[in-house]
């Protein structure tokens, strides 16, 4: 047997799909933060889901073991992905389906568009799917004269509102009932003009509209949550039943699935079907779990096509740290617990994959430099890691990708930057001590300025003294100086610093083995600042 080297895997191509935003995260976030309604909707929705999910997770006594099992299955999948995909292809083909391999978004869009064109239909119904959002399939279909109709209620709201999804699971999380009513009144055909914002009335309006579409559209496009390699079974997990309508009523079903969704055996579904609903919607069991294997004569779609999508996934797989991101089961738990996502919402991330998982997945799918601001869109607080049902170490990956960005930058520019200088300084105690003295001076200056509010009410100095009220709202963030708020300590101490250099006064013993002889000008230790007598070893005398 011979093998051919095909080169390193490529990242998702530019100019197609929705993996790249038009602005870096900080700028896009600024826009979201300035929208009070959005902030309110997000806070309400994420708080509700978090509480619901935490309650049902607490009931599952083997939750941690389930997480371990989920992580182990996914790690196993990644080590033998090519083999499992070929096994899946064989099983699906055996069951009467047709498997297509799409290297990227362009190829996937072309395959699906051609398959739809072959049916002669000018309309497709869609099951909610991240993969088709990722590749921009709706736009590709529209360009080919085919109308895609989203049937997931939240996706429908997004589609009718000419909007973009802002959450993996709840695409219209940024909208409240009142806004949804307005969108329906504006964009839904034949809607009752007396529609209220009652959730049941809104759902009924969507139901009336969608029912007609289900019954008269011969082609459906779906994604997939899982594919079982051994049996060739595909699985879609949803809450409304609209997905099941799409999966069973039409003559032709086309499923677009990321290659990382494959699991080895039927039994592996046991683990994920317990993990997913509790982590995502906070339900014990998922309401509609549809599974199908190829084609069944006389029952359901009589033509089934599976499009296996790479679009940068092989490149992610090639990174032994980064490949953890492919373990994701799209539950959104990390979004719901993320303090950054809760403030900014999904649009700020640019990509269809928002939140912590988006911050590690999008830059890997596109190549780090096309989404360089995303790994920095996190405080590394770690809430996402704790919440992830398959234990993806998101903070570790964020740091890994930050390092990848720095490396990419270094290859382009000369490495003369502040952080290197800081590292150099910190490796040289004399320089370090000097820098510390300088830093203390800025603090003294801040304290001095804060101590004289009446004397500098206006004029140039007013801009530098922080006496004007600081508003921590989004608006305040735009024209205020939150950076300085955080970078500068509060002027809470104000005292004489006459003993500033009195380092010998402390009496604290130095280390057992001082690493180096003391150099001239290096303080015996830097604790010796302005309140050195406090540090005397034998208590009492200093305090």
């Amino acid at each position: 047997m011979t093998s051919t080297f095909l080169g390193m895997p490529t990242t998702a191509p530019r100019g197609v799909g929705h993996l790249r935003g038009d602005q870096p995260f900080p700028a896009a976030a600024r826009r979201s933060l300035a929208d009070p309604q959005l902030r309110r909707n997000l806070r309400h929705a994420t708080t509700t889901i978090r509480a619901k999910s935490a309650a049902v997770i607490a009931e599952a006594l083997d939750w941690q073991q389930l997480r371990d099992a989920g992580a182990a299955i996914k790690a196993d999948v990644m080590t033998r992905l090519p083999e499992l995909l070929e096994q899946l292809e064989a099983a699906v083909t055996r069951a009467g389906g047709t498997v297509h391999w799409a290297a990227d978004a362009v190829e996937a869009n072309r395959i699906v568009t051609e398959l739809v064109a072959a049916t002669g239909s000018d309309r497709v119904i869609k099951v909610k799917s991240m993969a088709t959002q990722e590749i921009g399939l709706n736009e590709a279909l529209e360009a080919a004269g085919v109308t895609p109709v989203e049937t997931d209620l939240a996706e429908l709201i997004v589609q009718l509102g000419d909007d973009r999804p802002s959450h993996i699971l709840v695409p219209a999380i940024h909208r409240n009932r009142a806004e949804i009513r307005e969108i329906f009144l504006r964009a839904m055909p034949d809607v009752d003009p007396a529609l209220t914002d009652d959730p049941a009335a809104l759902a009924a309006a969507a139901r009336r509209y969608l029912r007609q579409t289900f019954l008269h559209t011969p082609v459906a496009v779906s994604g997939a949550n899982f594919a079982v390699a051994e049996t060739g079974t595909l699985a879609v997990v949803e809450s409304e039943g609209n997905g099941r309508m799409c999966l069973t009523l039409p003559d032709t079903l086309i499923t677009v699935m990321g290659i990382e969704k494959v699991v080895p055996t039927w039994q592996d579904l046991e683990v994920f079907l317990q993990l997913l609903p509790r982590a995502s919607t906070g339900e014990r069991m998922n309401p509609y779990t549809s599974m199908w294997t190829g084609v069944t004569p006389g029952d359901g779609p009589q033509a089934f096509h599976l499009v296996l999508l790479d679009n940068g996934r092989s490149a992610v797989l090639a990174d032994e740290v980064g490949r953890q991101a492919l373990h994701c089961i799209r539950c959104s738990a990390c979004l719901n617990v993320c303090p950054v996502y809760e403030r900014t919402g999904g649009h700020a991330y640019g990509s269809v994959y928002p939140g912590p998982i988006g911050a590690i997945l999008s830059p890997q799918l596109t190549g780090i430099e096309d989404n360089a601001s995303l790994p920095y869109a996190s405080t590394l607080c770690g809430a996402c890691f704790d919440a992830c049902p398959v234990k993806i170490n998101i903070p570790e990956l964020l740091v890994h990708l930050r390092a990848a960005h720095v490396t990419a930058q270094a290859e382009t520019y000369r490495r003369v930057h502040r952080d290197a200088a800081a590292a150099y300084t910190m490796d040289h105690p004399a320089l370090y001590a000097a820098a510390q003295r300088a830093a203390r001076l800025t603090r003294l200056a801040a304290a001095a300025v804060a101590a004289c509010p009446r004397r500098c009410p206006a004029g140039p100095s007013a801009a530098t003294c922080r006496n004007r009220p600081h508003r921590p709202s989004a608006n305040g963030g735009q024209n205020g100086e939150p950076t300085r708020t955080s970078a500068r300590p509060p002027p809470r101490r104000h005292r004489s610093h006459s003993n500033h250099t009195g380092r010998a006064a402390t009496g604290l013993p130095t280390g057992r083995r001082p690493p180096r002889p003391r150099r001239a000008g290096v303080p015996s230790h830097r604790l010796s600042g302005h309140r050195a007598p406090m540090l005397r070893r034998r208590g009492g005398e200093g305090g």
């Binding site: 303090p339 405080t379 960005h405 952080d419 600081h470 939150p482 708020t485 500068r488 280390g511």
Partner: protein
């Protein structure tokens, strides 16, 4: 016990009160505190910003400085988290396996203050007196990297005169995140706004935590809003006594 103080660069440079309080507290409890010279920064800010190569000499320096000591304490959950979870990784990434195992050994002997007091010294009542209404913010790295759990609360509950009030949504990040506060200032400030809202809702006059970095962020906001709520490091509370 002979305890080496890992002062941390931010505490030493900007908030030496917290370090002094740590020394005062441990000495009052009858321990010897030594200050190893040559210590600078653990390298966390370099690692977390992506400059892992630049952090390597700092890791080397930290390991060399603290290797001789049996017990190391820092008044910071974040910096101990860095020592415990990042140092070996930085060394391994640079292919220095020997440094990695030395770093791991040092990290096993390095404790955050509340860990040292409760786990190593086995003490919860440190004999402190602090007659204030206090709320505690569990910093993210203490909470999720070190899993200090309720150790700080156990210590605070035993402080005489202190009224401890629970902080709503305590486990949510304050928005500091090191350079996050600089690179994503608007988002950081939005997070801070909610944290301050919760602090103010407690009616506390002091907000405490185990990290000066988070306290710098929260305290900066509270002082600019003229709220009258102070931020004080846990060590300063525990070091306070009736008769100074």
């Amino acid at each position: 016990m002979r305890i080496a103080l890992f002062v941390t660069c931010l505490t030493d440079t900007m908030f030496p009160e917290a370090a002094k309080a740590t020394v005062r507290l441990l000495e009052r409890l009858g321990h010897e505190v030594v200050f190893p010279e040559g210590q600078t920064c653990c390298g966390q800010m370099h690692v977390n910003t992506g400059y892992l190569d630049d952090a390597l000499p700092l890791v080397r320096r930290h390991v060399r400085t603290f290797d001789p000591y049996d017990v190391v304490v820092a008044p910071s959950g974040s910096c101990v988290g860095s020592v415990r979870h990042q140092h070996a990784m930085v060394a391994r990434r640079a292919g220095d396996e020997r440094l990695a195992s030395r770093a791991e050994a040092v990290s096993e002997r390095t404790y955050e203050l509340s860990e040292l007091l409760t786990d190593v010294l086995g003490i919860e009542d440190v004999g402190a007196y602090y007659p204030h209404r206090v709320t505690y913010h569990p910093t993210c790295h203490s909470l999720r990297m070190l899993r200090v759990g309720d150790r700080p609360l156990r210590l605070l509950r035993r402080v005489r005169g202190l009224t401890l009030v629970e902080l709503p949504a305590a486990e949510q990040c304050c928005g500091f995140g090191g350079t996050f506060a600089v690179k994503n200032a608007d988002t950081s400030t939005a997070m801070l706004a909610d944290k301050m809202r919760h602090v103010l809702s407690t009616g506390a006059d002091v907000c405490t935590a185990g990290d000066v970095s988070c306290l710098m962020h929260i305290g900066g906001g509270l002082s600019r809003l003229r709220t009258g709520v102070r931020t004080v490091h846990l060590a300063e509370i525990l070091a306070s006594t009736e008769a100074p």
